[in-house]
């Protein structure tokens, strides 16, 4: 019934995808519980292999950033999202330093978070073109990234400006990027993310799945989608739980083990929160 709920919500109030996403997730949870299957199976089939969890490495001096990466390495992480996008000369230094210390098999995405102008993106990306590293959201708009694409050779991931299925189709058709960064809350939940996944698979585009932030419930939702993607198409899934001090579903949901996120066969999301930990609701509609 997910798509009927989706349509009804869209007719009632266009947009507001972030508010619709948790409703969509609840529908998938119900459908999974009703059918006795984990959401990943309903999305097409849960893969046996887990998904690498990606760390989030805040920008700073090269050694500072390597220090953060090393801490995550101790927990088994093999995927890292390293934030760049400040001073372009320093960005070049950061990238060269981190790549010089990258271990075989490690996945490092350099996340610009829209910070560069077209000119700055061209300078940095061409300066490190020999390294073959992937840049996420190197410009403000899809138009910017399409132009950056023309003057650079490094692989590109689109994050903030991948919102609608139309964006996904444009990126795929025009060859604007090689990786989709799918944030579930931004795109409006699993129902819409699944369509983007299919566009990606049909065009040889890899996927990076992310919650925009949130508890283990958000991580678990992302992990269900990630585990419905063939392994060769999934880059990693960002996990927020290791950055948090509160666990709303102790003992349930996906957990990072040796840097890998896996989900079990619990029907639905498999991550019912502990209502005592959630506290008082701010609203109940009946």
């Amino acid at each position: 019934m997910n798509e009927l709920v989706e349509r009804a919500m869209d007719l009632c109030l266009p947009g507001h995808l972030y508010a619709k996403a948790p409703v969509d997730l609840a529908c998938w949870d119900i459908m999974g519980k009703a059918s006795g299957l984990p959401i990943a199976d309903l999305l097409g089939g849960k893969r046996d292999t887990g998904t690498p969890a990606a760390s989030s490495v805040s920008s700073g001096d090269p050694d500072y950033m390597m220090g953060i990466i090393n801490k995550y390495r101790e927990q088994g992480y093999v995927a890292h999202s390293a934030k760049v996008g400040g001073n372009i000369e320093k960005d070049i230094d950061r990238i060269r330093h981190i790549e010089a210390n990258r271990k075989p098999g490690e996945i490092i995405l350099y996340d610009v978070n829209r910070a560069w102008t077209r000119r700055e993106a061209g300078i940095v990306m061409n300066a490190v073109a020999d390294l073959g590293v992937t840049f996420e959201q190197p410009g403000e708009t899809l138009d910017d990234i399409a132009e950056i694409r023309k003057v650079t050779t490094s692989p590109i991931s689109v994050d903030e400006t991948l919102v609608t299925l139309q964006d996904a189709c444009r990126i795929a058709r025009d060859g604007i990027a090689d990786v989709f960064g799918i944030k579930l809350n931004r795109v409006g939940g699993l129902t819409r993310a699944r369509r983007m996944r299919d566009v990606a698979l049909a065009h040889g585009i890899q996927i990076f799945v992310m919650a925009t932030g949130g508890s283990v419930m958000a991580d678990t939702e992302a992990a269900h989608l990630a585990q419905s993607v063939p392994q060769e198409f999934i880059q990693a899934s960002w996990s927020c739980q290791d950055m948090l001090t509160v666990d709303v579903a102790p003992g349930r949901g996906c957990r990072t083990e040796n840097g890998i996120l896996t989900i079990d066969d619990t029907p639905g999301l498999g991550c019912d929160p502990d209502e005592a930990i959630l506290g008082d609701p701010v609203a109940v509609y009946e």
Binding site: L11, C12, L13, P14, G15, H16, T141, L142, D143, Q166
Partner: protein
Amino acid sequence: MKITTITVWLVPLTSHQTYYMADGKTCETVETAVVRLETDSGLAGWGEVCPIPHYLPAYARGVAPALEEMAPVLLGADPVGPEALMDRLDHFLPGHDYAKSAVDTALWDLTAQAAGLPLYALLGGRRQQTMPLYHSITCVAPDEMARMARDAYATGIRQFQAKLGADADWRADVERLIKVREAVGDGPLVYGDWNCGASRLDATRTGRAVARLDIMLEQPCRTLDECAAVRAATGLPMKIDECGHDTASLLTAHELGCMDAVAIKLSKFGGLSASRRARDLCLHLGAKMCIEDTWGSDVTTAALLHLGVSINPHNLMNVCDLSGYVSPRLDETVPVRKDGRIAPPDGIGLGVAPDPDRLGTPVVELS
């Protein structure tokens, strides 16, 4: 000058004629959000946004929570020079353009009052005394729509927007367009608006059935690609509304060749600042502009009239007298339609001062 208090009212506006559009969208009584920004100088600026239910990513009761979220940036800020403060708001809370549009209007009102000038002077200057209006005809039976068109014609209106698609019957839409076209005779502008509610196929069938007539189509489908396909298949000029809402979408619509005209609704773009940028782009792209807003009363009508009158008459297609479609009026000194045309308000700033009795009790007061 510093902003000291933000006040928000919700006022129900009732349409004189219930307004039906495709996909079940209806305007009978809807709430408008009126915003006042008070300052330590004693000046107060006014803004308004009235989202049509189910129409754009906007709802009237979302305005006050968005303003509460943005209050830390607004309170204490200097309102003179709206774009600097709007830029800070955009970084603080991305999106929520409709809620910001009311703030932006109030900032322009304050800036113009501080300058001692009518708002249109800050927007580039007054280009004509009065502007042409269009009349929007609700989607009902074809003969009834033709009657409404004749009535409006008799009052001097020469531009007619016929709403289509409410009964999801493309042949009825053909009849609507033919009858409205015949009712107003040769010369006046007639366009049929689906508000995204048609499939590409039905829009093409409708357009081809009326292709011998002088008719423009408006936003038949949900995407620009589909609208461009309808334009190509029917050969009829196209007005873009819902899909044109920022610089990138206007450029795309232009590249697709489907933007003969465009609706610049203040709240769709995020206020006068963003709409002014859209105006300048459309001057360059050669798209005729309809300056309006989703719905509303006198504050939003005043704002759109100031922007409209700053546009070269050659490029301005029409404006909309929103406050003429609803009651209550919030400020009866704001001009109304006369002989199918309308003038901007007189006076300094936005030139509008809503009647406190009609606003009622505020829903939020932040200071």
